[in-house]
């Protein structure tokens, strides 16, 4: 009985340690298990629903050369840290968002743009990944593009202009982001 009383007298220390442990290791774990930007491709998807981990696992099954990790995040992940989205390589965005963030996006060379690309002032900025007309989209087992509440619109897969993985598009060393974007587009 005395021992139980003594342990309860230290309860604040146990609770404090639990909180410190969770916060500290949550932070350290993220740092330790991350990798440098040159060796990972980061995708942010502004869609109503995304199976982020499953999509990352699927993309990691066949990684482009020199890439060790694919990170997939919903936009809500970066709600309190816009730097996260600024360090992304790929975006999946609704049509309106593409128009709003066009300054941060890399133009797609004309020969690779295709017919359905998002075009602004004659320059293509995104590949169509979901069409609101046909209600069909790529990687639909990982991404849900519309809900009943929202007005349906096209979604595009776009590239950040300062990404390190766009190859000749922006003079970077590898084109891993382009390869992965093509793979997402080919997914059912």
């Amino acid at each position: 009985m005395i021992w139980i009383k003594r342990i309860f007298s230290q309860m604040h220390r146990y609770v404090l340690w639990l909180l410190i442990s969770a916060v500290f290791w949550g932070w350290i774990f993220t740092i330790i298990t991350d990798t440098i930007a040159a060796k990972k491709v980061v995708l942010y998807a502004d869609v109503p629903y995304i199976a982020d981990r499953e999509l990352a696992i699927e993309l990691e099954k066949d990684l482009p050369e020199g890439i060790r990790m694919v990170q997939v995040h919903p936009f809500s992940y970066a709600l309190f840290n816009t730097l996260d989205t600024d360090s992304s390589d790929l975006y999946i965005l609704p049509e309106q968002e593409v128009a709003d963030t066009i300054g941060a996006l890399c133009p797609i060379p004309q020969e690779e743009a295709g017919e359905d690309a998002f075009v602004s002032d004659g320059v293509a900025y995104g590949w169509l990944i979901y069409s609101s007309d046909t209600k069909k989209g790529s990687a639909s087992s990982f991404l849900n593009y519309h809900t009943d509440q929202e007005t349906d619109q096209n979604f595009y897969i776009c590239f950040r202009s300062s990404s390190r993985h766009l190859g000749e598009w922006n003079g970077s060393d590898d084109d891993a982001a382009v390869i992965l974007a093509k793979r997402i587009l080919s997914m059912q």
Binding site: I2, W3, R6, I7, Q10, R13, Y14, W17, L18, I20, S21, A22, F24, W25, G26, I28, F29, I32, T33, R53, A56, I57, E60, M69, V70
Partner: protein
């Protein structure tokens, strides 16, 4: 006079305390090793489980260290302090016979004491360290030596031998 405290006890307590400090450090290192192990085994598919494993290892390790530090190690340190105080304190003598009061007291956050008093006295004013109970025969004690109210030594009656 039968002495209940000796300087040798301090060395023994220090040794025991150091062993427990070693155990606490080993637990902390082990918990850290588990955390690093979980981090090293992390990939995209098991990330959540590994993070949970890391937090559980760290939390349990910390709880064990807190328990050892605040109960076992601190108790040894307090016992050490108590023994030093009794060995170095001013001695007083009181004539018996004595009896247990049934009163229990904890000093220095954990050292348990049992009260004794002169037979017939209304209130007890002496305390015996529970760890010394086996060495103390209250029914045979005719004179006790006390330091700050703690029984440090006692004399037994030859008549009862």
């Amino acid at each position: 006079m039968i002495e209940l405290y000796s300087p040798k006890e301090i060395a023994l307590l220090k040794k025991k305390r150091n062993v427990w400090i070693g155990i606490a450090v080993a637990v902390a290192v082990l918990a850290l090793a588990f955390c690093i192990f979980f981090c090293a085994r992390t990939d995209t598919s098991n990330r959540d489980r590994m993070l949970l494993g890391t937090i559980i290892s760290s939390t349990l390790g910390g709880w064990i260290v807190i328990t050892l530090t605040h109960f076992v190690i601190e108790d040894y340190r307090n016992a050490e302090k108590h023994i030093v105080a009794v060995l170095e304190g001013p001695r007083e003598y009181e004539e018996g016979p004595f009896e247990w009061t049934g009163e229990h007291l904890r000093v220095r956050k954990g050292i348990s004491m049992t009260g004794i008093r002169k037979v017939g006295a209304v209130k007890g004013n002496l305390y015996l360290y529970d760890a010394k109970k086996k060495s103390f025969q209250v029914e045979r004690a005719v004179r006790v030596c006390t330091v700050y109210g703690f029984v440090a030594a006692y004399e037994v009656s030859d008549d009862l031998d």
